[in-house]
């Protein structure tokens, strides 16, 4: 649900982008690696609005899903990436729906 909302949000943003663009700071980015069935780093601290991307380096597909929903990637095959913008402050736990013992957290602060 949140993913749909955020997609709508992005659409809205695109429409107003020419107006907003000069005022917006550049989007921050952070990366999480999936390797050997582990999210690295397992805990990531980011600022609100950061776009976090996960890249699968394993020979087995993985997924990334917020623990309470919020976001869910498609299956990521080797080399595939998924990203999500964390717009709200707080702690977000996530896991791989194929190998649920794989867990990680993104801690978002203003």
């Amino acid at each position: 649900m949140d993913a749909i909302l955020s997609r709508r949000g992005v659409c809205g943003l695109l429409l107003t982008l020419p107006l907003l663009a000069p005022a917006r700071a550049e989007e921050e980015a952070a990366h999480i690696m999936i390797d050997n069935f582990v999210f690295t780093p397992p805990e990531l601290n980011v600022k609100t609005g950061t776009k976090v991307s996960w890249k699968n380096e394993d020979d087995i597909p993985h997924t990334v899903m917020g623990k309470g929903g919020g976001f869910r990637s498609k299956p990521l095959d080797t080399g595939d990436e998924f990203s999500y913008v964390f717009a709200k402050a707080g702690r977000v736990d996530y896991f791989c729906t194929l190998h649920p013992h794989m867990v990680g957290s993104v801690i978002v602060a203003d």
Binding site: D59, P75, T97, H99
Partner: protein
């Protein structure tokens, strides 16, 4: 295994189950199932007329093409070729999941085409790789779920044995293991209600229903609840896949067995940094892939399981 005076003796039992394929050969002899171990000196076999023999294949991962096995469809084909070469025809075959690698229609198509060449009745349960389509399992259910309940669970009877296929790869919880869920457990309770405790039970699912190794998620959170519902039965055989290697144990009247993959091996629990595909020298690969053959004879005799590799014969 020890010879049994009242049952098939070791040699005869082995002969009954000789074949060289890539799955587990299961012989169910009316009572406690038994693993027969690997066969080195395969000889021709005659199966007793009253015995029920079926095959288990698992983890074919059609679509996988990484270095651990660049041609998973090819090794599945080799396994099915072995099935065709068996001296006696098994009654049916079960596939304990991960038919495909990425739940793609083309992968299911290729798997069906190859497995169909065995011309055996098939009974599937899904692995987690079979339910990662957009609709989380619809692709699998559309193909294999016609007579199934819920996410694909079902039961059937053959030769006096009650077979139960369970699904433990959906709605997995963060930090958890495989999952059956309340709805399926309620169905299971209902399914076995009223059955005589002397009915041999064979239950199969993708992820081991017992805890093999929690750090790698090799177990099922509510597996013990399912096994609890089957406790009163005199013979329960639990067949799983997922871990791409043979692990067995016997606990009271329950025998647990996992089958090899037909695609690629995985490391022993804790023997590597992760449970990912294990890269072995090309000439060794086929000694680590396989299937199983199970025979169930009539009377209170052991069920026998023979695991064979692709390298045999």
């Amino acid at each position: 295994m020890a010879d049994r005076e009242d049952g098939i003796n070791r040699r005869h039992a082995l002969e009954c189950m000789i074949w060289a394929g890539t799955g587990v050969l299961w012989t169910v002899a009316g009572g406690v199932p038994k693993s027969m171990g690997l066969l080195g000196d395969a000889q021709a076999a005659e199966t007793s007329a009253s015995a029920l023999t079926f095959l288990q294949i698992s983890d074919s991962h059609v679509g996988f093409e990484k270095p651990a096995n660049p041609n998973a469809l090819g090794t599945l084909q080799e396994a099915i070729d072995k099935v065709g070469a068996l001296p006696s025809r098994p009654s049916f075959m079960i596939h304990t999941g991960d038919i495909t690698h990425l739940s793609r229609a083309s992968e299911f198509d290729n798997a069906d085409q190859v497995i169909g060449k065995a011309k055996l009745d098939m009974h599937y349960v899904p692995g987690e790789h079979d339910v990662i389509d957009e609709d989380r399992g619809k692709a699998y259910l559309d193909r294999y779920g016609k007579n199934a309940k819920g996410a694909g669970w079902y039961s059937f009877d053959q030769a006096g044995v009650h077979f139960i296929g369970l699904v433990n790869v959906l709605d997995l919880k963060a930090g958890g293991l495989g999952n059956l869920g309340d709805e399926q457990l309620a169905w299971l309770e209902d399914d076995v209600r009223g059955k005589s405790s002397s009915t041999p039970i064979v239950v199969f699912a993708h992820v081991p229903l017992w805890l093999v190794y929690d750090k790698w998620g090799w177990g099922t959170d509510d597996g013990a609840r399912a096994l609890g519902l089957l406790k009163r039965f005199g013979s329960v055989t639990v067949l799983n896949g997922h871990i791409h290697q043979i692990v067995q144990k016997v606990e009271g009247n329950m025998t647990f067995h996992t089958a090899r993959s037909t695609a690629f091996p995985q490391p022993e629990p804790g023997a590597a940094p992760s449970p990912g595909p294990m890269l072995v020298p090309a000439e060794k690969l086929r000694t680590m892939l396989g299937l199983s053959n199970v025979t169930i004879a009539s009377g209170q005799r052991p069920l026998a399981i023979v695991d064979s590799t692709l390298a045999q014969m």
